[in-house]
Symmetry: C2
Subunit: 219 residues, 2 copies
């Protein structure tokens, strides 16, 4: 078998980018957002400052891409078929949230994966540093919400719309607000450490949100 040739410069670029992502995430986790600099990232990644400026114009841009890459890696790892499964192309759909027809099961699956990601120090430490800065710096907050958080929330909007089409969610419900019933509790527990984060917890959130807290009249 003939190995396909990858040009040296491409390989070098990929390696540099990965080193820069890693350096940016590590640094922001250690010193916080305000004290993270392009110079610091370059030094830690072992590249010249100009290499970073060739690809990005600010530290916010570098971090944004580093987190996008980190999430993509996590999603890839989660989608990788385990030894007992044959992959999940069937139900996955292109919206990133499975659509098997069982809304509760699909939401639970995705939220469990999010729990795992939030508990992983590789994600937790840098994401926390960035989130903290977004709380006090409106511009940083807006940048990351618009480019990282909201696109993820829109995946839930699409899944809930599909559920409405199938009669599993009431037609009068606003999906953009509805998703907050199970996403925001997890976010608050993570951000403010107001309680433990477990799979059982997010399963419960989904059940409460779909069925409501008030008693259902006998049908």
């Amino acid at each position: 078998m003939v190995k396909k040739a990858v040009p040296d410069s491409t390989r070098r670029s990929t390696r540099s980018r990965r080193a820069i992502y890693d350096a940016a995430l590590a640094l922001v986790g250690e010193v916080g957002y305000p004290r993270t600099t392009i110079e610091g990232i370059a030094a830690r990644a072992g590249v010249g400052k100009q290499t970073i400026y060739r690809w990005w114009s600010s530290k916010a841009e570098v971090l944004l891409e580093a987190f996008t890459d980190l999430s993509a890696q996590a999603a890839e790892a989660a989608a990788r078929p385990g030894p007992e499964e044959g992959g999940q192309e069937g139900g996955q759909g292109e919206n990133g949230i499975p659509d098997t027809g069982d809304l509760a099961a699909d939401l639970k699956l995705v939220l469990r994966a999010t729990v795992d990601e939030l508990l992983d120090p590789k994600f937790d430490i840098p994401a926390r540093a960035l989130a903290a800065e977004g709380v006090v710096d409106e511009q940083v907050g807006a940048e990351f919400v618009t480019k990282l958080l909201e696109p993820q929330l829109q995946l839930y909007v699409r899944r809930l719309r599909s559920a409405q089409e199938h009669g599993d969610v009431r037609p009068d419900v606003d999906p953009r607000i509805a998703l907050e019933l199970f996403v925001s509790p997890l976010a608050q527990r993570w951000l403010q450490r107001t309680g433990p984060i477990t799979h059982a917890y997010t399963d419960t959130l989904v059940d409460y949100a779909l069925n409501g807290l008030a008693p259902r009249r006998p049908s």
Copy 2:
């Protein structure tokens, strides 16, 4: 009418405490938690450093009390009868959340007041600085969650328990998790600015949480 004599030292203490609270909240909002110091608070309040150390042992303690005082003031203002009402001792109960027997109305009332507080810069700016620090500093976060946030959440736990006794919330529901369905979305929108904060929004959260997102079968 004879005015009751207030000892001069008490009056002076009250005035100093209030000045220290105000200075602490203003300072943390301006420079952030890490750069807020006892010295800075003292200078701004126009008191000696020793005056602060006589009453508190750390800046965290000063801020904790300043926020407690601020919340108490807001609660007092909210409870003050307007021109058209005769006060609300009747339904208020000692748990701080009204218990009129109408769970949805009671929750909506309290959440609307919370919206007003979060939108008030007097609260928003210092609270944001403190919350941001809690996201990255586990000890600071734990201190403020334990002493400020969790006691407020426990008021919802009590109200939901009362609702369970009256059959308005299912008996199998865990009130500590249930309250997060309407409290956490508001918290996340405030902290991360993921969407507008209005009375209509929190009303919707309460309706969704109590009734659920899935269709109710005809009774």
